[in-house]
Symmetry: C2
Subunit: 318 residues, 2 copies
């Protein structure tokens, strides 16, 4: 519980000036290797760690801090956060997180990031209206991940949902299926792109599209299973949760998956990887999204743009 050592303490112990300690800890040129080692040794002995806040205050413009607003309720946001950390580190940036929860609104999360003087903001699947996002982007670069939108001044990084949907359908076609249904995401983000791509891919293959209303949840999948025509042998679901609900309900009603019905999900979420599920799915490339987002976040004065990342097919057992 003793007060933390400061640069002054390290400087005194290493018998150099405070400024030199700063040089050493910033890895800046202007210190001999010998002194560098001595300063570092003194710092270690005292358990010194630079004060991040003071560091930011002192450095004139660049804070090398990026704020990330994410929703604790979405596992995919967790995957993105995980991918963002190494991507930020590679560029010499630090991440500050702010959570969106059931009771903490996105605007509050974003404002608290601004209080920390983040250089730029990365918002994961934000639900704020475009105007609010534009307002945020007015004061610093703002990158939106995983939401398709046109808000002026905002960078957008997202997965190519049309390509993903096409990938799913082509996979099922290549397996020899002809009666392929799509369980729709209805109004969920991305649902329209996935539905349209499904229809187009089916038409191009000379097959009749069958669309079943669904949604982004397991219960939507459960519901969709009840409406599934008996002649259907393969289903491309809106997302993994929906596919899993469908899977369980189909199995419970005696239909064998994948023997009788093939199912493909979308997201490559954690549940899809579980032993007893092993859902084939379309993976959003979290690392690709993260890298692109950081690239945009760190380039100041770049005109707002949209980066679309291709998804990948993950073949598992359904």
């Amino acid at each position: 519980m003793n007060p933390r050592p400061t640069m002054e303490d390290v400087a005194a112990r290493a018998r150099v000036s405070r400024a030199l300690v700063s040089i050493v800890y910033r890895n800046a040129p202007g210190a001999s290797d010998e002194t560098r080692a001595r300063v570092l040794a003194a710092g270690d002995a005292l358990g010194y760690r630079p004060d991040h806040r003071a560091r930011l205050l002192g450095s004139r413009q660049r804070t090398r801090l990026i704020g990330v607003a994410f929703d604790v309720r979405y596992p995919f946001h967790g995957d993105l956060v995980e991918a963002l950390y190494p991507a930020a580190e590679a560029l010499g940036y630090n991440l500050t997180l702010s959570a969106v929860t059931g009771s903490r609104r996105e605007s509050a999360a974003a404002q608290s990031l601004l209080d920390y003087r983040c250089e730029s903001l990365i918002l994961l699947g934000p639900t704020s209206p475009p105007a609010a996002l534009t307002a945020l982007a007015d004061s610093q670069p703002t990158v939106v991940i995983a939401r398709k939108l046109r808000a002026s001044g905002v960078h957008v990084v997202r997965t190519d949902d049309a390509a993903g949907s096409r990938l799913a359908v082509e996979h099922l076609l290549s397996l020899g299926h002809t009666q392929i249904a799509h369980v729709d995401g209805v109004r969920a983000p991305g649902a329209a792109e996935r539905r349209t791509a499904y229809v187009q891919t089916m038409r191009r293959a000379g097959r009749a599209p069958v669309i079943i209303p669904g949604g982004p949840t397991e219960s939507a999948g459960t519901e969709a299973a009840r409406r599934l025509p008996r002649n259907i042998t393969a289903v491309a679901a809106f997302n993994d949760a929906c596919a899993i609900g469908l899977l369980h309900t189909l199995r419970a009603s005696g239909r064998r998956v994948p023997e009788e019905v093939s199912i493909i999900g979308y997201d490559d979420s954690t549940p899809s990887r579980l032993d007893h599920i092993q859902l084939s799915t379309i993976a959003q490339n979290a690392h690709g999204l993260a890298a692109a987002a950081l690239d945009l976040a760190t380039c100041v004065d770049r005109s707002p743009q949209e980066v679309v990342i291709s998804p990948d097919l993950v073949r598992r057992k359904t």
Copy 2:
């Protein structure tokens, strides 16, 4: 993209000193209501927001900042974070998050929190060895949530697992079941307490305990389902994931839940609430845990202690 206004700008606009602006924004005594309004108006007009960093640097001892290290992969950590925000706000504290991920170790997360000069640390279900936690607690109050451990200097807030397990078994007994099995968590945290309480409660009720090896995952539940004796009519599972694996496998093999077999989980996780699952379970009281953790985190110079929160039975459909 224009530089953010500072206190100086607000002071100039309101025609007062910088110090007075500080007084107003801190809600400290020493300014007339009239001036207060004028300063606030000037701040609003400029879009001024105090710099959190500078604020903390300036304020001598207390930073009113609490660092939270959580694991993005655990939904329950999300619930805890959600509960921590309002609890912190109520005490006038701010939260800084740092994520533990597959590739970012707990120690890195904790260190980055220290760089931000957090007054205290709250670690959710840490996996670090007790010695590492004691070392952390040496420099500031440290609270561990959801892990039973004896590390000197560290506060612990956790759920009463014995009581939870007892609650689960008593619930099943009260439903008239006599052949109740426990699917064990083996080496998972809390498994020993839950197992012991199960055995004790069964003995006290004059029933023979049946323990089936399992684990904390869905696949463990799937495995346990295969080993489940046919005469068992109720199962208290180690946790929800295990219970859900068990549930699906049992249903797939034709046994009806809850008609033929009752299942109770543990955690009240999000999947347990899903429409087609509706798992009865034992809820860890996230708000209670959060409040207790903040209480401990904010009281400096309090001797390390352990707070045990009672869990609740959530009756659903299994």
